[in-house]
Symmetry: C2
Subunit: 262 residues, 2 copies
Amino acid sequence: MIKQHVKVIKVGGKIVEEEDSLKDFLELFSTIPGHKILVHGGGRSATKIAKLMGVETTMVEGRRITDAAMLNVVVMVYGGLVNKQIVAKLQAKGINALGITGTDMNLIRAEKRPVKDIDYGYVGDVTKVDVSVLTNLIKEDVTVVIAPLTHDGNGQMLNTNADTIAAEVAKALAKVFDVELIYCFEKSGVLYDAEDDNSVIPIITPSSFEELIEKKIVQGGMIPKLNNAVDAVLSGVNEVRITKASNLNNDLKGTKFNLLID
Amino acid sequence: MIKQHVKVIKVGGKIVEEEDSLKDFLELFSTIPGHKILVHGGGRSATKIAKLMGVETTMVEGRRITDAAMLNVVVMVYGGLVNKQIVAKLQAKGINALGITGTDMNLIRAEKRPVKDIDYGYVGDVTKVDVSVLTNLIKEDVTVVIAPLTHDGNGQMLNTNADTIAAEVAKALAKVFDVELIYCFEKSGVLYDAEDDNSVIPIITPSSFEELIEKKIVQGGMIPKLNNAVDAVLSGVNEVRITKASNLNNDLKGTKFNLLID
Protein backbone atom coordinates (compact mmCIF):
# COMPACT_ATOMS: atom_id res chain seq x y z
CA MET A 1 0.00 0.00 0.00
CA ILE A 2 1.31 3.43 -0.91
CA LYS A 3 1.68 5.63 2.14
CA GLN A 4 -0.13 8.95 2.14
CA HIS A 5 2.02 12.06 2.20
CA VAL A 6 2.10 14.36 5.24
CA LYS A 7 4.14 17.51 5.68
CA VAL A 8 5.23 18.52 9.19
CA ILE A 9 6.17 22.19 9.14
CA LYS A 10 7.94 23.95 11.96
CA VAL A 11 7.91 27.70 12.09
CA GLY A 12 9.75 29.79 14.63
CA GLY A 13 8.50 32.49 16.86
CA LYS A 14 9.77 35.44 14.87
CA ILE A 15 7.50 34.62 11.92
CA VAL A 16 4.33 33.78 13.84
CA GLU A 17 4.59 36.56 16.38
CA GLU A 18 4.44 39.50 14.00
CA GLU A 19 1.20 40.21 12.24
CA ASP A 20 2.64 40.85 8.78
CA SER A 21 5.02 37.90 8.66
CA LEU A 22 2.37 35.59 10.13
CA LYS A 23 -0.06 36.72 7.45
CA ASP A 24 2.48 36.02 4.68
CA PHE A 25 3.39 32.68 6.20
CA LEU A 26 -0.19 31.46 6.58
CA GLU A 27 -0.91 32.59 3.03
CA LEU A 28 1.82 30.23 1.81
CA PHE A 29 0.95 27.50 4.31
CA SER A 30 -2.68 27.46 3.21
CA THR A 31 -1.75 26.86 -0.44
CA ILE A 32 0.18 23.66 0.37
CA PRO A 33 -1.92 20.78 -0.92
CA GLY A 34 -2.51 17.62 1.10
CA HIS A 35 -2.15 16.78 4.75
CA LYS A 36 -0.04 19.06 6.92
CA ILE A 37 0.79 19.68 10.54
CA LEU A 38 2.16 22.94 11.90
CA VAL A 39 4.47 23.16 14.92
CA HIS A 40 5.16 26.67 16.14
CA GLY A 41 7.36 28.50 18.62
CA GLY A 42 6.67 31.74 20.41
CA GLY A 43 9.71 32.56 22.50
CA ARG A 44 9.84 36.26 21.76
CA SER A 45 6.25 36.79 22.90
CA ALA A 46 6.91 34.68 25.99
CA THR A 47 9.90 36.86 26.89
CA LYS A 48 7.92 40.04 26.28
CA ILE A 49 4.91 38.95 28.32
CA ALA A 50 7.11 37.51 31.08
CA LYS A 51 8.77 40.92 31.36
CA LEU A 52 5.41 42.69 31.59
CA MET A 53 4.43 40.25 34.36
CA GLY A 54 7.70 40.77 36.23
CA VAL A 55 8.97 37.25 35.45
CA GLU A 56 12.65 37.21 34.56
CA THR A 57 13.80 35.33 31.47
CA THR A 58 17.00 33.29 31.76
CA MET A 59 18.39 31.56 28.69
CA VAL A 60 21.26 29.04 28.74
CA GLU A 61 22.68 28.17 25.30
CA GLY A 62 19.48 29.34 23.66
CA ARG A 63 17.27 27.27 25.98
CA ARG A 64 14.79 28.85 28.37
CA ILE A 65 15.09 28.09 32.06
CA THR A 66 11.49 27.34 33.01
CA ASP A 67 10.61 27.82 36.67
CA ALA A 68 6.98 27.63 37.84
CA ALA A 69 6.24 31.27 36.96
CA MET A 70 7.86 30.95 33.51
CA LEU A 71 5.95 27.72 32.88
CA ASN A 72 2.69 29.62 33.40
CA VAL A 73 3.89 32.22 30.91
CA VAL A 74 4.79 29.70 28.19
CA VAL A 75 1.58 27.72 28.71
CA MET A 76 -0.37 30.96 28.26
CA VAL A 77 1.65 32.29 25.34
CA TYR A 78 2.40 29.12 23.36
CA GLY A 79 -0.77 27.17 24.19
CA GLY A 80 -3.07 30.19 24.22
CA LEU A 81 -2.09 33.40 22.49
CA VAL A 82 0.16 32.24 19.63
CA ASN A 83 -1.63 28.94 19.00
CA LYS A 84 -5.15 30.37 18.88
CA GLN A 85 -4.20 33.34 16.73
CA ILE A 86 -2.83 30.92 14.14
CA VAL A 87 -5.93 28.71 14.38
CA ALA A 88 -8.33 31.64 14.00
CA LYS A 89 -6.47 32.89 10.93
CA LEU A 90 -6.37 29.42 9.35
CA GLN A 91 -10.09 28.98 9.98
CA ALA A 92 -10.63 32.26 8.12
CA LYS A 93 -8.89 30.63 5.14
CA GLY A 94 -11.23 27.64 5.30
CA ILE A 95 -8.59 25.35 6.81
CA ASN A 96 -10.05 23.20 9.55
CA ALA A 97 -7.36 23.93 12.14
CA LEU A 98 -7.21 22.49 15.65
CA GLY A 99 -4.70 23.99 18.07
CA ILE A 100 -3.33 21.63 20.69
CA THR A 101 -0.41 21.00 23.00
CA GLY A 102 1.27 17.66 23.60
CA THR A 103 -0.90 17.33 26.69
CA ASP A 104 -4.16 17.27 24.77
CA MET A 105 -5.33 13.72 24.03
CA ASN A 106 -2.04 12.62 25.58
CA LEU A 107 -0.35 13.36 22.25
CA ILE A 108 3.21 13.87 23.55
CA ARG A 109 4.54 12.50 26.80
CA ALA A 110 7.82 13.81 28.16
CA GLU A 111 9.93 13.53 31.26
CA LYS A 112 11.29 16.47 33.18
CA ARG A 113 14.90 16.94 32.14
CA PRO A 114 17.20 15.58 34.87
CA VAL A 115 19.30 18.21 36.60
CA LYS A 116 22.98 17.87 35.69
CA ASP A 117 25.11 21.02 35.35
CA ILE A 118 22.04 23.11 34.67
CA ASP A 119 18.55 22.95 36.16
CA TYR A 120 16.29 23.76 33.24
CA GLY A 121 13.22 23.54 35.48
CA TYR A 122 9.95 22.41 33.92
CA VAL A 123 11.50 21.42 30.61
CA GLY A 124 10.49 18.12 29.04
CA ASP A 125 12.37 15.61 26.94
CA VAL A 126 9.94 13.74 24.68
CA THR A 127 9.42 10.07 25.54
CA LYS A 128 6.39 9.14 23.39
CA VAL A 129 4.21 10.51 20.61
CA ASP A 130 0.80 8.86 20.21
CA VAL A 131 0.58 8.75 16.45
CA SER A 132 -3.00 7.41 16.48
CA VAL A 133 -4.21 10.81 17.70
CA LEU A 134 -2.72 12.49 14.64
CA THR A 135 -3.77 9.70 12.28
CA ASN A 136 -7.41 10.08 13.32
CA LEU A 137 -7.33 13.86 12.93
CA ILE A 138 -5.60 13.67 9.54
CA LYS A 139 -8.30 11.24 8.36
CA GLU A 140 -10.89 13.85 9.33
CA ASP A 141 -8.96 16.47 7.32
CA VAL A 142 -8.12 18.42 10.44
CA THR A 143 -4.96 20.53 10.27
CA VAL A 144 -3.29 20.18 13.66
CA VAL A 145 -1.38 23.18 15.02
CA ILE A 146 0.94 22.10 17.84
CA ALA A 147 2.22 24.40 20.60
CA PRO A 148 5.60 23.30 22.06
CA LEU A 149 4.29 21.99 25.36
CA THR A 150 4.14 18.43 26.67
CA HIS A 151 3.19 16.71 29.93
CA ASP A 152 4.56 14.04 32.20
CA GLY A 153 1.33 12.07 32.66
CA ASN A 154 1.15 13.08 36.32
CA GLY A 155 -0.47 16.45 35.76
CA GLN A 156 2.68 18.45 35.11
CA MET A 157 2.95 20.52 31.94
CA LEU A 158 6.47 20.79 30.50
CA ASN A 159 8.07 23.32 28.16
CA THR A 160 9.58 21.49 25.20
CA ASN A 161 11.74 22.63 22.32
CA ALA A 162 9.63 23.15 19.18
CA ASP A 163 12.32 21.83 16.79
CA THR A 164 12.42 18.61 18.79
CA ILE A 165 8.64 18.32 18.87
CA ALA A 166 8.52 18.70 15.08
CA ALA A 167 11.17 15.97 14.67
CA GLU A 168 9.47 13.60 17.13
CA VAL A 169 6.06 14.11 15.54
CA ALA A 170 7.55 13.52 12.08
CA LYS A 171 9.33 10.35 13.26
CA ALA A 172 6.15 8.97 14.83
CA LEU A 173 4.11 9.75 11.70
CA ALA A 174 6.74 8.05 9.50
CA LYS A 175 5.44 4.69 10.71
CA VAL A 176 2.15 5.36 8.94
CA PHE A 177 2.78 8.09 6.38
CA ASP A 178 5.34 9.25 3.85
CA VAL A 179 6.61 12.22 5.86
CA GLU A 180 8.39 15.40 4.87
CA LEU A 181 9.64 17.62 7.67
CA ILE A 182 10.25 21.27 6.85
CA TYR A 183 12.01 23.66 9.20
CA CYS A 184 11.35 27.30 8.32
CA PHE A 185 14.50 29.21 8.92
CA GLU A 186 15.61 32.83 8.87
CA LYS A 187 18.30 32.03 6.30
CA SER A 188 17.94 30.28 2.96
CA GLY A 189 19.18 26.97 4.35
CA VAL A 190 22.31 25.58 5.96
CA LEU A 191 25.11 27.78 4.62
CA TYR A 192 28.73 26.96 3.78
CA ASP A 193 29.49 30.58 4.66
CA ALA A 194 27.24 32.02 7.39
CA GLU A 195 27.69 35.49 5.86
CA ASP A 196 26.63 34.45 2.35
CA ASP A 197 22.94 33.59 1.95
CA ASN A 198 23.70 32.25 -1.53
CA SER A 199 26.03 29.54 -0.20
CA VAL A 200 23.26 27.05 0.62
CA ILE A 201 24.39 23.44 1.09
CA PRO A 202 21.86 21.60 -1.11
CA ILE A 203 22.01 18.15 0.49
CA ILE A 204 23.21 16.86 3.85
CA THR A 205 23.41 13.14 4.64
CA PRO A 206 24.23 11.65 8.04
CA SER A 207 27.86 11.14 7.01
CA SER A 208 28.32 14.52 5.33
CA PHE A 209 26.85 16.06 8.50
CA GLU A 210 29.77 14.59 10.48
CA GLU A 211 32.18 16.16 8.01
CA LEU A 212 30.49 19.55 8.24
CA ILE A 213 30.93 19.45 12.02
CA GLU A 214 34.58 18.36 11.75
CA LYS A 215 35.27 21.21 9.31
CA LYS A 216 33.43 23.60 11.66
CA ILE A 217 31.07 24.65 8.85
CA VAL A 218 28.32 23.61 11.25
CA GLN A 219 28.98 24.64 14.84
CA GLY A 220 27.54 25.91 18.12
CA GLY A 221 23.77 26.08 18.47
CA MET A 222 23.36 24.80 14.89
CA ILE A 223 24.58 21.33 15.87
CA PRO A 224 21.61 20.32 18.07
CA LYS A 225 19.24 21.99 15.58
CA LEU A 226 20.58 19.98 12.66
CA ASN A 227 20.89 16.87 14.79
CA ASN A 228 17.08 16.84 14.94
CA ALA A 229 17.03 16.77 11.13
CA VAL A 230 19.61 13.99 10.81
CA ASP A 231 17.93 11.99 13.54
CA ALA A 232 14.61 12.30 11.70
CA VAL A 233 15.91 10.92 8.39
CA LEU A 234 17.68 8.12 10.25
CA SER A 235 14.31 7.30 11.89
CA GLY A 236 12.23 6.92 8.77
CA VAL A 237 11.28 10.47 7.84
CA ASN A 238 11.51 10.59 4.07
CA GLU A 239 13.07 14.01 3.81
CA VAL A 240 13.87 17.01 5.96
CA ARG A 241 14.20 20.42 4.41
CA ILE A 242 15.54 23.58 6.05
CA THR A 243 14.48 26.65 4.16
CA LYS A 244 13.46 30.28 4.36
CA ALA A 245 9.75 30.55 5.24
CA SER A 246 9.12 32.41 1.98
CA ASN A 247 10.39 29.34 0.09
CA LEU A 248 8.10 26.97 1.96
CA ASN A 249 6.30 26.01 -1.25
CA ASN A 250 9.39 25.64 -3.42
CA ASP A 251 10.74 22.11 -3.12
CA LEU A 252 13.95 23.14 -4.87
CA LYS A 253 14.97 25.69 -2.26
CA GLY A 254 16.85 25.14 0.97
CA THR A 255 18.98 22.35 2.39
CA LYS A 256 17.65 18.81 2.16
CA PHE A 257 18.54 16.05 4.57
CA ASN A 258 18.14 12.51 3.33
CA LEU A 259 19.85 9.13 3.14
CA LEU A 260 20.20 9.15 -0.66
CA ILE A 261 23.94 9.11 -1.18
CA ASP A 262 24.96 7.43 2.06
CA MET B 1 -33.09 4.51 18.75
CA ILE B 2 -32.28 5.42 22.33
CA LYS B 3 -30.11 8.50 22.51
CA GLN B 4 -26.82 8.23 24.38
CA HIS B 5 -26.46 10.36 27.49
CA VAL B 6 -24.03 13.29 27.63
CA LYS B 7 -23.44 15.63 30.54
CA VAL B 8 -22.31 19.19 29.83
CA ILE B 9 -20.80 20.63 32.98
CA LYS B 10 -19.98 24.28 33.45
CA VAL B 11 -17.64 25.28 36.23
CA GLY B 12 -16.76 28.84 37.15
CA GLY B 13 -13.43 30.46 37.53
CA LYS B 14 -13.28 30.41 41.30
CA ILE B 15 -13.25 26.62 41.44
CA VAL B 16 -10.80 25.96 38.61
CA GLU B 17 -8.37 28.75 39.44
CA GLU B 18 -7.39 27.57 42.90
CA GLU B 19 -5.30 24.46 43.20
CA ASP B 20 -7.20 22.85 46.07
CA SER B 21 -10.71 23.46 44.77
CA LEU B 22 -9.66 22.43 41.24
CA LYS B 23 -8.24 19.19 42.65
CA ASP B 24 -11.48 18.43 44.53
CA PHE B 25 -13.59 19.32 41.52
CA LEU B 26 -11.63 17.16 39.07
CA GLU B 27 -11.74 14.30 41.57
CA LEU B 28 -15.55 14.42 41.43
CA PHE B 29 -15.65 15.12 37.70
CA SER B 30 -13.51 12.10 36.93
CA THR B 31 -15.87 9.74 38.76
CA ILE B 32 -18.86 10.73 36.60
CA PRO B 33 -19.58 7.78 34.34
CA GLY B 34 -20.30 8.18 30.64
CA HIS B 35 -19.74 10.97 28.19
CA LYS B 36 -19.08 14.44 29.52
CA ILE B 37 -17.97 17.85 28.35
CA LEU B 38 -16.49 20.52 30.60
CA VAL B 39 -16.90 24.25 29.99
CA HIS B 40 -14.82 26.47 32.26
CA GLY B 41 -14.38 30.12 33.15
CA GLY B 42 -11.28 31.86 34.37
CA GLY B 43 -12.17 35.48 34.98
CA ARG B 44 -10.32 35.91 38.25
CA SER B 45 -7.03 34.76 36.72
CA ALA B 46 -7.63 36.98 33.71
CA THR B 47 -8.13 39.99 35.97
CA LYS B 48 -5.01 39.13 37.99
CA ILE B 49 -2.78 38.62 34.96
CA ALA B 50 -4.20 41.67 33.21
CA LYS B 51 -3.24 43.72 36.24
CA LEU B 52 0.31 42.32 36.23
CA MET B 53 0.54 43.24 32.54
CA GLY B 54 -0.79 46.74 33.12
CA VAL B 55 -4.10 46.05 31.35
CA GLU B 56 -7.07 47.58 33.14
CA THR B 57 -10.14 45.44 33.80
CA THR B 58 -13.52 47.09 33.25
CA MET B 59 -16.67 45.15 34.10
CA VAL B 60 -20.21 46.29 33.22
CA GLU B 61 -23.00 44.31 34.92
CA GLY B 62 -20.62 41.43 35.50
CA ARG B 63 -19.46 41.36 31.88
CA ARG B 64 -15.87 42.07 30.88
CA ILE B 65 -15.19 44.89 28.44
CA THR B 66 -12.74 43.26 26.03
CA ASP B 67 -10.49 45.63 24.12
CA ALA B 68 -7.59 44.29 22.02
CA ALA B 69 -5.22 44.09 24.99
CA MET B 70 -7.81 42.34 27.19
CA LEU B 71 -8.63 39.92 24.37
CA ASN B 72 -4.98 38.84 24.33
CA VAL B 73 -5.18 38.31 28.08
CA VAL B 74 -8.32 36.15 27.96
CA VAL B 75 -7.04 34.14 25.00
CA MET B 76 -3.87 33.42 27.00
CA VAL B 77 -5.58 32.75 30.30
CA TYR B 78 -8.74 30.91 29.23
CA GLY B 79 -7.36 29.15 26.15
CA GLY B 80 -3.89 28.53 27.57
CA LEU B 81 -3.32 28.61 31.32
CA VAL B 82 -6.65 27.49 32.79
CA ASN B 83 -7.59 25.13 29.96
CA LYS B 84 -4.27 23.28 29.82
CA GLN B 85 -3.96 22.94 33.58
CA ILE B 86 -7.33 21.20 33.64
CA VAL B 87 -6.37 18.99 30.69
CA ALA B 88 -3.04 17.96 32.25
CA LYS B 89 -4.74 17.05 35.53
CA LEU B 90 -7.48 15.06 33.77
CA GLN B 91 -4.86 13.19 31.74
CA ALA B 92 -3.19 12.28 35.03
CA LYS B 93 -6.49 10.65 36.02
CA GLY B 94 -6.57 8.62 32.82
CA ILE B 95 -9.26 10.79 31.23
CA ASN B 96 -8.51 11.47 27.59
CA ALA B 97 -9.05 15.22 27.74
CA LEU B 98 -8.74 17.64 24.83
CA GLY B 99 -8.72 21.35 25.57
CA ILE B 100 -10.16 23.57 22.89
CA THR B 101 -11.76 26.93 22.23
CA GLY B 102 -14.75 27.58 19.99
CA THR B 103 -12.27 28.55 17.28
CA ASP B 104 -10.69 25.10 17.06
CA MET B 105 -12.26 22.95 14.34
CA ASN B 106 -14.71 25.83 13.88
CA LEU B 107 -16.68 24.51 16.85
CA ILE B 108 -18.40 27.76 17.83
CA ARG B 109 -19.00 30.70 15.55
CA ALA B 110 -20.03 34.01 17.02
CA GLU B 111 -20.58 37.57 15.93
CA LYS B 112 -19.06 40.57 17.61
CA ARG B 113 -21.72 42.07 19.84
CA PRO B 114 -23.19 45.18 18.20
CA VAL B 115 -22.47 48.43 20.04
CA LYS B 116 -25.61 49.85 21.63
CA ASP B 117 -25.36 51.64 24.97
CA ILE B 118 -22.17 49.80 25.81
CA ASP B 119 -19.24 48.81 23.60
CA TYR B 120 -18.22 45.43 24.96
CA GLY B 121 -15.35 45.23 22.46
CA TYR B 122 -14.27 41.80 21.25
CA VAL B 123 -17.18 39.96 22.83
CA GLY B 124 -19.02 37.36 20.80
CA ASP B 125 -22.64 36.26 20.70
CA VAL B 126 -22.87 32.63 19.60
CA THR B 127 -24.38 32.06 16.17
CA LYS B 128 -23.59 28.38 15.49
CA VAL B 129 -22.23 25.29 17.25
CA ASP B 130 -20.93 22.55 14.95
CA VAL B 131 -22.23 19.51 16.80
CA SER B 132 -20.47 17.04 14.46
CA VAL B 133 -17.12 18.11 15.93
CA LEU B 134 -18.29 17.08 19.40
CA THR B 135 -20.08 13.97 18.16
CA ASN B 136 -16.88 12.67 16.56
CA LEU B 137 -14.82 13.35 19.67
CA ILE B 138 -17.41 11.78 21.97
CA LYS B 139 -17.37 8.65 19.77
CA GLU B 140 -13.60 8.47 20.30
CA ASP B 141 -14.14 8.76 24.07
CA VAL B 142 -12.42 12.12 24.18
CA THR B 143 -13.48 14.41 27.03
CA VAL B 144 -13.64 17.90 25.56
CA VAL B 145 -12.69 20.83 27.81
CA ILE B 146 -13.96 24.10 26.33
CA ALA B 147 -12.48 27.52 27.06
CA PRO B 148 -14.99 30.38 26.69
CA LEU B 149 -13.65 31.80 23.43
CA THR B 150 -15.19 31.82 19.96
CA HIS B 151 -14.37 33.30 16.57
CA ASP B 152 -16.12 35.20 13.82
CA GLY B 153 -14.82 33.12 10.90
CA ASN B 154 -12.75 36.04 9.64
CA GLY B 155 -9.77 35.47 11.90
CA GLN B 156 -11.06 37.36 14.92
CA MET B 157 -11.16 35.61 18.30
CA LEU B 158 -14.04 36.71 20.57
CA ASN B 159 -14.50 36.52 24.33
CA THR B 160 -17.77 34.71 25.08
CA ASN B 161 -19.66 34.10 28.29
CA ALA B 162 -19.02 30.57 29.60
CA ASP B 163 -22.59 30.05 30.86
CA THR B 164 -23.88 30.84 27.39
CA ILE B 165 -21.33 28.56 25.73
CA ALA B 166 -22.41 25.70 28.00
CA ALA B 167 -26.07 26.30 27.12
CA GLU B 168 -25.40 26.58 23.38
CA VAL B 169 -23.25 23.44 23.37
CA ALA B 170 -25.93 21.55 25.32
CA LYS B 171 -28.65 22.73 22.94
CA ALA B 172 -26.65 21.67 19.87
CA LEU B 173 -25.88 18.26 21.40
CA ALA B 174 -29.57 17.75 22.26
CA LYS B 175 -30.23 17.06 18.56
CA VAL B 176 -28.13 13.90 18.83
CA PHE B 177 -27.87 13.01 22.52
CA ASP B 178 -29.91 12.90 25.69
CA VAL B 179 -28.31 15.93 27.32
CA GLU B 180 -28.03 17.02 30.93
CA LEU B 181 -26.55 20.46 31.57
CA ILE B 182 -25.10 21.11 35.02
CA TYR B 183 -24.05 24.54 36.22
CA CYS B 184 -21.72 24.38 39.21
CA PHE B 185 -22.58 27.20 41.49
CA GLU B 186 -21.23 28.73 44.67
CA LYS B 187 -24.54 28.17 46.43
CA SER B 188 -26.56 24.97 46.77
CA GLY B 189 -28.93 25.95 43.98
CA VAL B 190 -31.41 28.70 43.23
CA LEU B 191 -32.59 29.89 46.64
CA TYR B 192 -35.96 31.20 47.82
CA ASP B 193 -34.01 33.22 50.36
CA ALA B 194 -30.55 34.30 49.17
CA GLU B 195 -29.35 34.28 52.79
CA ASP B 196 -30.47 30.72 53.49
CA ASP B 197 -28.50 28.01 51.68
CA ASN B 198 -31.12 25.45 52.80
CA SER B 199 -33.91 27.19 50.89
CA VAL B 200 -33.14 25.56 47.53
CA ILE B 201 -35.94 25.69 44.96
CA PRO B 202 -36.06 22.05 43.80
CA ILE B 203 -37.66 22.51 40.37
CA ILE B 204 -38.06 25.47 38.04
CA THR B 205 -40.14 25.27 34.86
CA PRO B 206 -40.38 27.98 32.21
CA SER B 207 -43.65 29.23 33.72
CA SER B 208 -42.56 29.04 37.36
CA PHE B 209 -39.44 30.98 36.30
CA GLU B 210 -41.68 33.86 35.20
CA GLU B 211 -43.36 33.79 38.59
CA LEU B 212 -40.03 33.81 40.42
CA ILE B 213 -39.05 36.93 38.49
CA GLU B 214 -42.41 38.62 39.16
CA LYS B 215 -42.07 37.87 42.87
CA LYS B 216 -38.46 39.17 42.77
CA ILE B 217 -37.17 35.89 44.20
CA VAL B 218 -34.95 35.82 41.12
CA GLN B 219 -33.49 39.21 40.20
CA GLY B 220 -30.53 41.17 38.89
CA GLY B 221 -27.60 39.22 37.46
CA MET B 222 -29.38 35.94 38.22
CA ILE B 223 -31.99 36.55 35.52
CA PRO B 224 -29.66 36.22 32.47
CA LYS B 225 -27.89 33.31 34.19
CA LEU B 226 -31.11 31.38 34.71
CA ASN B 227 -32.41 32.43 31.31
CA ASN B 228 -29.66 30.25 29.83
CA ALA B 229 -31.06 27.31 31.79
CA VAL B 230 -34.68 27.92 30.81
CA ASP B 231 -33.69 28.50 27.20
CA ALA B 232 -31.80 25.17 27.21
CA VAL B 233 -34.79 23.10 28.40
CA LEU B 234 -37.05 24.88 25.93
CA SER B 235 -34.55 23.92 23.20
CA GLY B 236 -34.43 20.18 23.79
CA VAL B 237 -31.95 19.79 26.66
CA ASN B 238 -33.43 17.08 28.86
CA GLU B 239 -32.58 18.66 32.18
CA VAL B 240 -30.56 21.53 33.58
CA ARG B 241 -29.31 21.40 37.15
CA ILE B 242 -27.78 24.23 39.15
CA THR B 243 -25.85 22.92 42.11
CA LYS B 244 -22.88 23.36 44.37
CA ALA B 245 -19.75 21.88 42.74
CA SER B 246 -19.36 19.48 45.67
CA ASN B 247 -22.80 18.03 44.82
CA LEU B 248 -21.90 17.51 41.17
CA ASN B 249 -22.38 13.74 41.51
CA ASN B 250 -25.58 13.85 43.50
CA ASP B 251 -28.56 14.00 41.17
CA LEU B 252 -30.86 14.84 44.07
CA LYS B 253 -29.10 18.09 44.99
CA GLY B 254 -29.60 21.52 43.53
CA THR B 255 -32.26 23.19 41.43
CA LYS B 256 -33.53 21.34 38.38
CA PHE B 257 -34.96 23.02 35.31
CA ASN B 258 -37.26 20.96 33.15
CA LEU B 259 -40.55 20.98 31.30
CA LEU B 260 -42.18 18.30 33.50
CA ILE B 261 -45.05 20.16 35.07
CA ASP B 262 -45.57 22.83 32.43
